[in-house]
Symmetry: C2
Subunit: 417 residues, 2 copies
């Protein structure tokens, strides 16, 4: 059998573009996420063992076990995982994604997104906001208290509000946000206020009392990343729609666990290609510098995989105050990504480029041929467990990842050089 890669890629990318991810509800991970169980913790990136986990991932895993009531302190938590009593699995193996450490534990609330075009689903956890947060590896009592409030108070109200919306179209929200200076990854300022605006009337109705309504609206509205997690789930639903197309060299997953950067390819099933994570380059908060930074971490590269984030950066010139660079760099980032993508998005357009669609569908072949690797916008975590975010910046996965994947693709499909 001969495979026409161009045709296969066209199918994969068309499926990504035609996917319409809609937020349908908020569930408990244990009851909602496929193959979730009581003794499982999900994490960002490709598979990893406790021994190989970096500081922020360890911190988040410890914090999740404390949140679950399974451990009281660091060493108990470490022991539970090291002993194999609690197991680890990538979010991506469960139709899920999580920013930074991306840890999802059984009791956590997860956004449920359905791709109404193709029927597949995807999940992500709640966004905690800024400062000392689990996803950056902090797990102190302050972090726990916030998580408890989010789950005991906010989640029931938020879930009811989402259900009252009867389907919140995240693709439409993203399309609008791109016209309002977002790129959908590190800048979700417009998306988060649009999200808050859509939900606030329903929150007012669903809350047990006005003070709770006010607190929940405030928590969403004052967190400029509140929509990031449903956006990531939406991107996962779109990327998954393009996965599994026989003969396609389109990259359908990019994810980092803080130790390794991993990619998966549409035509190559569940196989991961991994390589050590690079260090992001960017701006650090006062008191921190590059040497405090952890290697790149998080599933949020699902946004770039779906044609957003750094790929849509031309739409978000103001982001450079956060990730470094100039507005011209932001424009150039998008222009460069057209070199390695198979299509231009029809739903996501960039006013600054005369409403041209964002570059979407990273073609393994184009990356290897041009030597241009995907650009990624990212947050930077402290390398030690328990600290948190120390900056934001830009990163690119290593070239060898794509070379290795392309060679494996050629072997799998019996191509000769």
């Amino acid at each position: 059998m001969t495979v026409n890669i161009d045709n296969a890629n066209a199918v994969a990318v068309e499926r990504m573009i035609e996917a319409r991810p809609v937020l349908t509800g908020l569930g408990k991970a244990l009851d909602t996420v496929p193959d979730m169980h009581q003794d499982l913790l999900l994490h960002a990136g490709p598979p990893i063992a406790w021994e190989d986990a970096s500081g922020p991932l360890r911190g988040a895993l410890i914090g999740a076990l404390i949140f679950e009531g399974r451990a009281e302190e660091e060493k108990d938590a470490a022991q539970l995982i090291a002993s194999g009593e609690v197991r680890l699995s990538p979010c991506h193996h469960h139709n899920a994604v999580g920013p930074m450490a991306g840890v999802i534990s059984p009791s956590m609330a997860v956004y449920e997104v359905e791709n109404e075009t193709h029927g597949n689903r995807a999940y992500s956890n709640l966004n905690e906001g800024y400062g000392k947060v689990l996803r950056y590896g902090a797990y102190s009592e302050e972090v726990q208290e916030r998580l408890r409030w989010m789950h005991d108070v906010m989640a029931p109200v938020l879930g009811a509000a989402i259900e009252a919306c009867s389907g919140l179209d995240i693709r439409a929200l993203l399309a609008e946000a791109l016209h309002m200076g977002d790129e959908g990854h590190n800048r979700n300022k417009a998306g988060s206020v649009l999200f808050t605006k859509l939900l606030a009337p329903h929150i007012a109705m669903a809350a047990p009392d006005p003070a709770t309504a006010a607190a929940v609206i405030d928590a969403l509205g004052e967190n400029a990343l509140s929509v990031l997690n449903p956006v990531m789930a939406a991107c996962k639903a779109m990327a998954d729609a393009g996965h599994g197309v026989e003969g396609s060299t389109i990259v359908s997953t990019m994810a980092r666990n803080g130790t390794e950067f991993g990619i998966r390819v549409s035509g190559m099933g569940e196989r991961w290609f991994t390589s050590p994570c690079p260090q992001p380059v960017g701006l650090y908060f006062p008191g921190f510098s590059a040497e405090d930074g952890n290697p790149d971490i998080g599933d949020s590269t699902i946004t770039e995989t779906a044609g957003l984030g750094a790929f849509a950066m031309a739409a978000a010139p103001a982001i450079v105050t956060f990730v470094s660079g100039t507005p011209q760099d932001a424009l150039n980032a998008t222009l460069e990504m057209y070199e390695i993508t198979a299509a231009e998005h029809t739903a996501f357009t960039i006013p600054q480029l005369d409403f041209r669609g964002t570059p979407v569908g990273i073609d393994l072949r184009a990356v290897v041929e041009t030597g241009i690797t995907p650009r990624v916008n990212t947050g930077i975590a402290h390398k030690e467990a328990g600290v948190g975010q120390i900056g934001a910046g830009l990163v690119r996965p290593p070239t060898e990842l794509f070379t290795e994947a392309l060679i494996a693709f050629a072997e799998q499909y019996g191509f000769q050089e």
Copy 2:
């Protein structure tokens, strides 16, 4: 006495830039707006008599008298004004501004904005949203019902929510909105959701019941112009701060009543210079064309006067889908306005132009010297009373207005050509 115009202009513009307009509350026009009285209706633009009023202004005046319970139908209302029992006065003569017809009647709620730097205040009415609305000259029962709901149900809750904010900084909100694709005049999409986000928690607390909270939040959040009126009041407060500087040729008012376009100049007191209103050029809603359009109308040119609107259009490339043109035209609009302005704003910056400040402070001399008139983004009203908005587009005031004002300036200050 010799006057140094450059120095005077520097003072006027610096005052405009340093003004910090803060929304402090919502009052009843009769109790709040200076020199408002029971038999007075305020309107947009320079002074005008009933006989000279265009369709949409007449429609709005009629609608306001019906809203006030002073008239039941068109002819009663017309009679009240024609007889002199009810008088007309420009909003601008009462520290107020109103979009389109800009009619403010005694019972109407008005936003109260205080310039915390210089202490002056400004006012504007509530925004009704889209479709059949008073400000575009519609006055049917549907319009009345909406106005009654806004005043009986929304205003008390909104007023309490604003007070609970203890000062909502409109300049900061605008600065943020410009980084989110707004220009602050025809595109206030980001500003309106930011406004909603800030108020929603307080609305949840202030509303008599959850359904009212939801309805008020929804009315603000789903109206992409909900913040336009407080923004206009803020611009009025800023422009007024720069008015009255001896020897200054800075334009401190631009306003249209649907028949005449009027300007006032910082160093020339309360004197208006007027000229027939031009017709906007733009995009019409389906079923309408240029021949249905009224000449330009509204006080919303206060945004351009304060360095926003078309002057900040480079920040809002997506606006071209609404007012016509290309994103490059939007960029060019701002670049052109630097030619006729005295300064660059320090609070309002444009990411697309490497965070350059918006052009602010129209210098009469520069307009006359270059022949470049100020650009204005605007809505287009149907020329007949009772219809409403039929499009949006671009307009420029006539050159002779500026020539006439400059000649008068030279006469007033004893300059010789």
